[in-house]
């Protein structure tokens, strides 16, 4: 919360615009080409919150890696704020599916990693403290990753991203490892964080309710190679209520697109 307070004044429109044009991607698996993304094409408005839903292994993480600039697509192009994505940049931060903390660094040093790498740590140590406080890990600054629970590690990974005040936050199932209570709290936190910062958020999740509760728009992918099978707009104001009948309606629709209508 405090982390991003200074940012608002400096940057009027903090969120980045995403344009994905006819992106296809394939991997090599034992000499055979493995198509993962098939002609994916969509745009995301600056400052909006989009969720990506799809069956396991369809290529959601791959798409986020492309957006972060970690890999280059086989075909098509991705651009952020009109510029084609090349190298990774700290204005676009990817929170990985695994927390993957650096085991030789304390919690504080893990969170400080980005600022240190960008050479601005000396001036902005308080930002690290604020980010740790934000994810509720005050007092664990000096703990090593092997001393944390799975959920705590995931929260450190989130703090490590937020401390950089990204303009595009790519979240790959960041709440997947949390217990259900922390998960609900963190969902609310994510929303208020996104609103305060005005950043663009792209969230990959397996959880239909989570996608609908958090985002303004849910893109549903089919099985690999992934293509967009549905684009659901969640026309509800924030703060939302989990018991909202409109959410239940949308949930039925989303499950239908995922081929799970029978379970409703």
């Amino acid at each position: 919360m405090v982390v991003l307070a200074t940012k608002e004044a400096e940057l009027p429109a903090a969120g980045q615009q995403i344009d994905i044009r006819n992106v296809s991607h394939q991997f090599e698996l034992e000499g055979e080409p493995l198509p993962v993304l098939d002609n994916v094409d969509f745009s995301v408005e600056p400052g909006s919150f989009v969720a990506l839903l799809g069956p396991s292994g369809c290529g959601k993480s791959t798409l986020l890696r492309l957006l972060a600039g970690l890999d280059q697509p086989t075909n098509g192009e991705l651009s952020v704020d009109g510029e084609i994505v090349g190298e990774p940049d700290p204005s676009r931060i990817l929170v990985f599916q695994d927390p993957t903390l650096f085991p030789w660094r304390t919690v504080w040093d893990n969170v400080a990693l980005g600022l240190e790498a960008q050479g601005v740590l000396k001036r902005s140590r308080h930002r690290v403290d604020n980010a740790i406080e934000l994810v509720g890990l005050k007092g664990f600054d000096k703990a090593y990753p092997h001393q944390l629970s799975g959920g705590m590690s995931q929260r450190v990974a989130l703090a490590r991203a937020l401390v950089n005040e990204p303009r595009l936050l790519l979240l790959d199932e960041p709440l997947g490892k949390l217990d259900s209570l922390t998960r609900l709290t963190m969902q609310t936190e994510l929303v208020s964080l996104w609103q305060r910062a005005g950043l663009t958020a792209v969230l990959v999740t397996h959880d239909v309710e989570e996608a609908l509760f958090l985002s303004q728009r849910v893109l549903i992918f089919g099985p690999r190679p992934a293509r967009i099978v549905a684009d659901i707009s969640v026309d509800l104001p924030y703060p939302r209520h989990r018991g909202d009948p409109r959410l239940a309606e949308l949930r039925r629709e989303a499950l239908g697109h995922l081929g799970l209508a029978a379970t409703w």
């Binding site: 972060a68 600039g69 790498a117």
Partner: protein, 336 residues
């Protein structure tokens, strides 16, 4: 001496028993103390087959150990860390009293073992009393030579390992050379090295460095190569540049491997050190061993071996301490 001490330690024991409950008495310690008193008595009272000096000093030493054990046994849990350590090694104190006694019997007292080849404890003590200066200088030169060679070898190995672990081009050129030359024992270079280098000292530094560098290179390299790719991806998305990736990601992640290489390198460097000192360098413990052999001074050889064992063990311990300190973030480290 032997006649004064036993009653003294017994009275200490009685005193302790009257003040504290008997449970706080350390029985193993008492038995060990008694065993060392027995050892002292054996050394002092049983005449030697060939009279030797320093028997009395040896007996006095045994009594000092006995006294120490008795004091720790009597004062129970009182006393600092040293007392805890002594208590822990109680069975060892007992066993070593038996070993020293047995050794004393089969050498000095009965001559069961052929005398010049198997030295009695007091003749080794004699070496420490009469030749400590030469031994000390030898240790100094050995450590100095080892330190120079090990330092350059570890440094070269680490830098090579990081370079070939990081750069494909470097690996392309260095790997085949490493595969061919690396497994060659450094001592095989010895005749050539003594010939090429201006002094036998610089030749030995080179050989020790060579012996150290190989394992350090291989382990550093494999450490760098096995770093989880995700670490790099995460650091890159957070704005890390290549130098940051090398120094703040690759090297810390590879450090546990590097230490394995450093341990292996230290082991091989000991071997090369001794051989080099025996064959060329006119100083150090290897040379001392060689020199003692020339004079058929077997007791000196045992003494030098003992000192060498202490030296190597101390150096390994130091390396373990450095590792524990640098890798304190790891759990489940093996303690030395």
């Amino acid at each position: 001496m032997a006649s004064i001490d036993p009653p003294l330690s017994e009275s200490a024991v009685q005193e302790a028993a009257s003040v504290r409950p008997a449970a706080s008495l350390w029985s193993t310690g008492l038995v060990a103390a008694a065993a060392w008193v027995g050892t002292a008595a054996l050394i002092e009272l049983w005449p030697e087959i060939i009279p030797q000096p320093y028997g009395r000093e040896l007996a006095a030493g045994a009594l000092v150990i006995a006294l120490l054990l008795a004091v720790v046994a009597a004062t129970g849990k009182l006393g600092g860390k040293a007392a805890v350590t002594i208590r822990y090694y109680g069975p060892w104190f007992l066993a070593s009293a038996l070993v020293v006694s047995g050794w004393e019997i089969v050498t000095a007292k009965t001559g069961l073992l052929p005398v010049p080849f198997f030295s009695s404890p007091q003749s080794i003590l004699e070496v420490f009393f009469d030749d400590w200066e030469r031994l000390g200088i030898s240790v100094f030169y050995s450590v100095l030579l080892l330190a120079k060679g090990y330092f350059f070898g570890a440094l070269a190995g680490f830098l090579t390992g990081v370079t070939i672990g990081w750069s494909r081009a470097a690996s392309y050129w260095v790997h085949p050379v490493l595969r061919l030359i690396g497994p060659l024992p450094a001592t095989a270079w010895l005749p050539l090295a003594f010939f090429i280098f201006p002094t036998s000292g610089s030749a030995s530094v080179f050989l020790i460095a060579l012996a150290t560098a190989f394992p350090v290179t291989i382990l550093t390299w494999s450490g760098i190569a096995s770093v989880n790719r995700d670490y790099y991806d995460i650091a890159r998305t957070l704005g890390a540049k290549p130098l940051f990736l090398i120094f703040k990601v690759a090297i810390p992640a590879a450090l546990p491997h590097v230490f394995v290489g450093l341990f292996m390198g230290l082991g091989t460097s000991f071997a090369v050190l001794v051989v080099a000192e025996m064959l060329g360098v006119k100083a150090g413990l290897g040379w001392y061993l060689q020199w003692a052999q020339g004079w058929a001074a077997y007791a000196n050889m045992y003494a030098a071996l003992l000192v060498m064992a202490l030296m190597c063990s101390t150096l390994i311990t130091i390396l373990f301490r450095v590792r524990d300190w640098s890798l304190s973030w790891q759990k489940g480290l093996v303690r030395w």
